[in-house]
């Protein structure tokens, strides 16, 4: 009988401890991150993942937050079929409330139907194809970054402003590349540029010598490339091999450090246009980069990191407001107007598209992407071609 006393005592103590713990602990809410964690553009995907993770960590460190957040990272490999699998995995798990989704347009456009079918709120953080928000009217799909329409408008206006007249367009034959081709051609024609020829290439093509020799024959001043870093590197490198002396004008798709790593000195003078601004010029850039550095991630946030951070922050703000309920989160997200974020004000239009007016022009100078206005090319000390 005397043995029972300590047992009862320990049981009571354990129960009390558990009760205390339960009282102190917050409910855990899961949000998904989906982006290319492997493959040619994985640097951007990992940068985005780290940035979303940073937003979650900062929120969890905030004593005022009502919930504890957990980020579930999924890899879409920048491929449509894998993206649908990842989207289905996230959306079919009821414990995941919303997602920070996709860097690649081909992945995002393939996955939007899945989000719609499952009623899963998704905030796109990097993909720029207009159709992602504009093809359908899915209440679930939002996007914090701009689209390639704005990007190509600025690109065409800027380049014709520099007195270039003759272009050859090379684009990959995915929706992403075809979109760039379409909008760039549209604006280039409007601003008085001339397209001498266009080449659709596959997204994993290795050899471009035949296309580039044909391009060489057309004697363009600028080669415009609508596609992502891996083939951008190949095309720029093979241009040199064939002695093509033209400016290489890319899109947001090549604005990554791996473009410069892959090319070394050859990257000099390549151009890129991207929505938003460098972190130094973003309203909350200094704050973001300071916090990012503290976490000691082994890779940088890359160009779209601040957007992934913003998307995750936006989702958590809404969950704090309406609770972890997908339907309410969708309703509340859609109401976002003039909301302050590190990338500036966020306002969703009736398609869930943020109306970001800001596009920044970049040029590679001495192994770094430099904002055009700050570069020696703009000041006239260096010449593009």
């Amino acid at each position: 009988m005397h043995n029972c006393v300590p047992r009862v005592f320990w049981a009571a103590a354990l129960a009390a401890a558990l009760a205390l713990d339960a009282g102190a602990a917050k409910q855990t809410v899961k949000i998904a991150y989906i982006g290319p964690l492997t493959g040619g553009v994985s640097a951007n995907g990992i940068g985005g993942r780290n940035s979303a993770d940073l937003a979650v960590r900062l929120r969890n460190a905030d004593p005022k937050a009502k919930y504890r957040y957990e980020l579930v990272s999924l890899d879409d490999e920048c491929k449509p079929n894998i993206a649908v699998q990842a989207a289905t995995k996230a959306a079919s798990d009821n414990s995941i409330i919303a997602g920070v989704t996709h860097y690649c347009s081909v992945a995002a456009i393939a996955a939007v139907d899945t989000y719609h079918k499952f009623g899963f709120p998704a905030v796109v953080w990097g993909a720029v194809l207009p159709d992602i928000t504009y093809r359908n009217n899915y209440a679930e799909v939002h996007r914090v970054n701009g689209t390639m329409i704005n990007q190509n408008d600025v690109a065409a206006k800027f380049m014709t402003g520099l007195k270039y007249k003759r272009w050859v367009i090379i684009h990959d034959t995915t929706d992403y590349g075809k979109g760039h081709d379409k909008y760039f051609t549209e604006y280039l024609t409007k601003y008085g540029g001339q397209v001498l020829g266009r080449f659709g290439v596959t997204a994993d093509q290795q050899d471009f010598t035949a296309e580039l020799t044909k391009a060489k024959e057309l004697k363009p001043e600028v080669i415009y490339f609508g596609g992502l870093t891996p083939i951008g590197v190949r095309i720029r490198s093979q241009m040199e091999r064939l002695g093509i002396d033209a400016v290489f004008e890319g899109t947001s798709g090549i604005k990554s450090d791996s473009y410069i790593d892959g090319l070394g000195k050859l990257a000099e003078g390549s151009l890129s246009f991207i929505e938003g601004a460098p972190w130094e010029k973003l309203p909350g850039g200094l704050y973001f980069i300071g916090k990012y550095a503290q976490q000691k991630y082994d890779q940088g946030p890359e160009a779209y990191g601040p957007f992934a951070f913003t998307a995750a922050g936006l989702i958590m703000d809404v969950i704090e407001q309406v609770g972890p309920n997908r339907r309410k989160v969708i309703e509340e997200l859609r109401k976002t107007r003039d909301k302050d974020s590190i990338v500036g004000k966020i306002s969703f239009d009736d398609h869930g598209q943020n109306v970001v007016p800001l596009i920044t022009k970049y040029v590679v100078q001495d192994g770094k992407w430099v904002v055009w206005e700050d570069s020696e090319y703009a000041s006239g000390r260096r010449k593009l071609k």
Binding site: T173, K214, K216, S237, R241, G243, G264
Partner: protein
């Protein structure tokens, strides 16, 4: 089109052709000597290129700065490693299945190829990303009108042709070559004549795989980049080239390689010119369609195999 541009197309086609021919020669060697189709051949090429890149990393760390010495060591290590891998594949995967239906060997090597590819992707540091390949050859270029002649292209082309010529020399002029040809014609009789059958098979696989490693390094030097999946398409193209040329015939493989490269180049140039709505991305479709049509016309390939002329 001016002469310079035409020359440029020919030069591009020749570079592609020599790489395809090297892969095709490997397929033909394996088929000639053992009647097997080794589908992991393209992935051995990838593994060879990555072995070269890893060696380069090691040499950089050790402080070898001379590009010529680096290239020589890279070539030696990659070719030796893949030759060894080729012999291992032959000994433990291909030879034990000799009595099994040929389909089994085909399936087994197909799976081995996938395994090799995934191993490169998973175990090479950040192996899923394309890797810049060092520019170890002189980059000098001369512009002759609209034709740009680059020294590294010339060296690569000559290197590739020399490698194919060397393999041809081994097959036709050496004792080992005689043994390979004997085994290819009639393995049983060759054995009775005192030829070590297993040794000949292993050496043939080592030879073909070493050649694949060389093709992998050349591919890296030419494009200044490699990735884990380069071998996939190169393997299919090399195999098609070998079949078009006449599987089992070394001249056929070389011819097939250059023919395929020619078809791709013509496809990339002509398709968008004739049908503006068809992008040049369809050049592979064009080349493979032409191969299908060709095979329907000549099912045994350009140079039909005669048992007496095998390998």
């Amino acid at each position: 089109m001016d002469v310079g541009l035409f020359g440029q197309y020919v030069a591009n086609g020749l570079m592609l052709g020599v790489i395809y021919a090297m892969v095709a020669v490997g397929f033909t060697l394996f088929f000639g000597v053992l009647d097997v189709i080794k589908f992991s051949h393209g992935d051995v090429l990838t593994a060879g290129a990555f072995a070269g890149l890893a060696t380069y990393g090691g040499l950089q760390a050790l402080g070898f700065a001379s590009p010529a010495v680096q290239l020589l060591i890279i070539l030696l290590v990659a070719v030796a490693a893949m030759a060894f891998l080729g012999a291992l594949i032959a000994k433990y995967l291909v030879l034990p299945l000799r009595t099994a239906p040929p389909l089994n060997t085909l399936l087994l090597t197909l799976m081995l190829g996938a395994a090799l590819r995934e191993c490169v992707r998973l175990f090479y540091p950040q192996g899923a990303n394309p890797k810049p390949f060092p520019r170890l050859l002189p980059q000098d270029a001369v512009a002759l009108g609209s034709f740009t002649l680059r020294l590294d292209n010339v060296l690569l082309l000559l290197g590739g042709l020399a490698a194919i010529a060397a393999v041809h020399f081994v097959i036709t002029r050496t004792k080992l070559g005689l043994a390979i040809r004997a085994v290819a014609q009639d393995a049983e009789t060759a054995r009775i004549m005192g030829i070590d059958f297993e040794r000949v098979v292993l050496l043939t696989f080592a030879l073909g795989s070493g050649l694949a490693a060389l093709a992998g390094i050349m591919n890296g030097l030419y494009y200044s980049e490699i990735n884990f999946s380069i071998g996939l398409l190169l393997g299919v193209i090399g195999f098609s080239a070998a079949v078009v040329g006449g599987l089992g015939n070394i001249y056929g493989a070389i011819l097939g390689g250059f023919l395929f490269a020619g078809l791709q180049t013509v496809g990339a140039v002509l398709l968008p010119a004739l049908l503006p709505q068809v992008p040049s991305a369809y050049k592979d479709v064009f080349a493979f369609a032409a191969v299908i049509a060709f095979m329907a016309w000549r099912p045994t390939g350009l140079i039909a195999e005669r048992t007496a002329e095998r390998v």
